[in-house]
Symmetry: D2
């Protein structure tokens, strides 16, 4: 069984809605999922998790400062102890080309700094929607495809956690084939 | 009078269409605009320009390799001589969240390396469309807003060129006010 | 005459020392230079400036959260009003390959979001030291070359401000030649 | 047993030397290591590998174009089939602050696009040297610390491969403790 943390900051509710969809996608048999606002998420949550999805609105082309503070201060005692856990990112933004990919990139850099293994998803969640560095959404994820992208991120995270933390290679297509 | 170069690489025609729209936006009275495929663009074009907009499709989350080669090899004699010219970027991609912002970012890093002053646009080109790091498009820029974003990039580039290269401060809102 | 703001966050004094050197380099005849800790810097300072250099320590591979908050909240009323001002970045870090280039990159993205024209410096400040995306320093800038890189950033900023804000093209080598 | 590919592009030999040190660090009991110039590395090598370290010199603030072409064209049939393999990056540059961190970042983005799990290393390889996003070197890795950073990258890669591909949790400190 693997432990999955979906942790987010949200002021308007847009990123929170994405987080709920990611958590929904991650809720696969045998996994324990915690959905947490950073106001309540602690270093203990991060240590508990085998994998985490991290979401922030895009503010000025990057993660909102409260999210940055969470990594800089709140969970700093976990630094170097998250080594090898699995992480991924998502972000909402005010408009297309508004910087949400850059926010995902920055969340990934934060996780790499802590030692996590990070990933994006090559697959498409719809005909014109992918999540190569994490799903992005203009405000609320309203279209089917935007929502599917969030769920797919959670699902893929759950698969990697199964392979990595459980050593259950049958849980992921690539490893299943290999085995 | 200012010189503007819109230079692009395009395999499918998507980025070329963006380039045409950027050139259209840049074609303001008193400016000379060159629209060039990198197959024909030379270091002389780069030296001639007071400002340039650079476009590439997003391949694997970054500029297509022929565009990278153009900077690495084709115009390398212009390195250090483009100092202070003005540059901006645009990119097409296969799907939303496909990396086009990251391609813009990389084009900007290339220009910074050569010494250009680079910019994005805070304004919105439509209710849900901006171009903070350059306009992006999923395949062809088909919507009004996607097209407006490309034109706005060209227009803003022309304004900066007027201020910077011509010293004509009346050509840009901010400087006009100041004067 | 141009106005230059050197604004920084510093906890240990390392980034402050870099800021002092940048301010020293920017202090050229006819320029007015303000050196400000973000604890005291306001939106008015940003509006006053024709050019700004922004420095932060590298925390977890990016700008320290108080610096992010400064852009997200403190000076938010200046958003969209800094259009066309000139900006550049610098950062100190705990060790080589510690993320200081990524911090510079993020500071540049913040400035682009606000509408500033941003730049790096192609020149070398020493045989093995450049500042292509802004100078970086491991802890205090102790070597001659590290210090020269900081001064060079300030000097180049002052030159661009002279060209851009004053329309005094004779102040920068490239434009001087052209004129 | 895990398969490790160290793949690099090198014109001057600087990045090749880094690659040799990474391969040395990765050569742990039970692992099979291939050291390959991209001129000879194929998609088959990438498919064979459980983990890969990718190195490029920094050209104009990013990976050299032949390295980009390798991902864009040479191994394109492997796209989407490298899902879940483990990847990391390294780069040499002409001078400090020359963009090598940005090159590592771009190599990581390329790997994420292909579906790899990517990582950096929180640990320090020396008092003033880390490799948070991969080791970087000014020209040849000549100091003890620069060389230690390269070896540490290879060693960490080998550990992750052991955990992930072999399911041998005893091979990595974190998982060993847990088990």
């Amino acid at each position: 069984m693997g432990n999955i943390l979906v942790v987010y900051y949200s002021q308007t509710g847009n990123t929170r809605r994405m987080a709920e969809l990611v958590a929904e996608g991650a809720s696969q048999p045998g996994h324990d999922v915690r959905l947490r606002d950073i106001a309540e998420a602690t270093g203990e949550d991060a240590l508990w998790a085998d994998g985490m999805a991290v979401g922030s609105p895009t503010w000025m082309g990057g993660p909102a400062w409260p999210m940055k503070r969470w990594w800089d201060e709140t969970i700093i005692k976990a630094w170097g102890k998250l080594d090898g856990k699995i992480g991924c990112a998502f972000s909402s933004q005010g408009g297309l080309s508004g910087g949400a990919e850059l926010t995902c990139l920055n969340l990934i850099l934060l996780m790499m700094n802590y030692g996590l293994l990070t990933f994006g998803v090559p697959d498409y969640a719809g005909k014109r929607t992918t999540l190569h560095y994490g799903p992005t959404s203009v405000r609320l994820p309203e279209t089917e495809d935007d929502q599917a992208a969030c769920r797919l991120l959670g699902q893929r995270l759950a698969q990697w956690v199964a392979v990595m933390a459980d050593g259950d290679a049958t849980r992921h297509p690539r490893f299943a084939k290999k085995t």
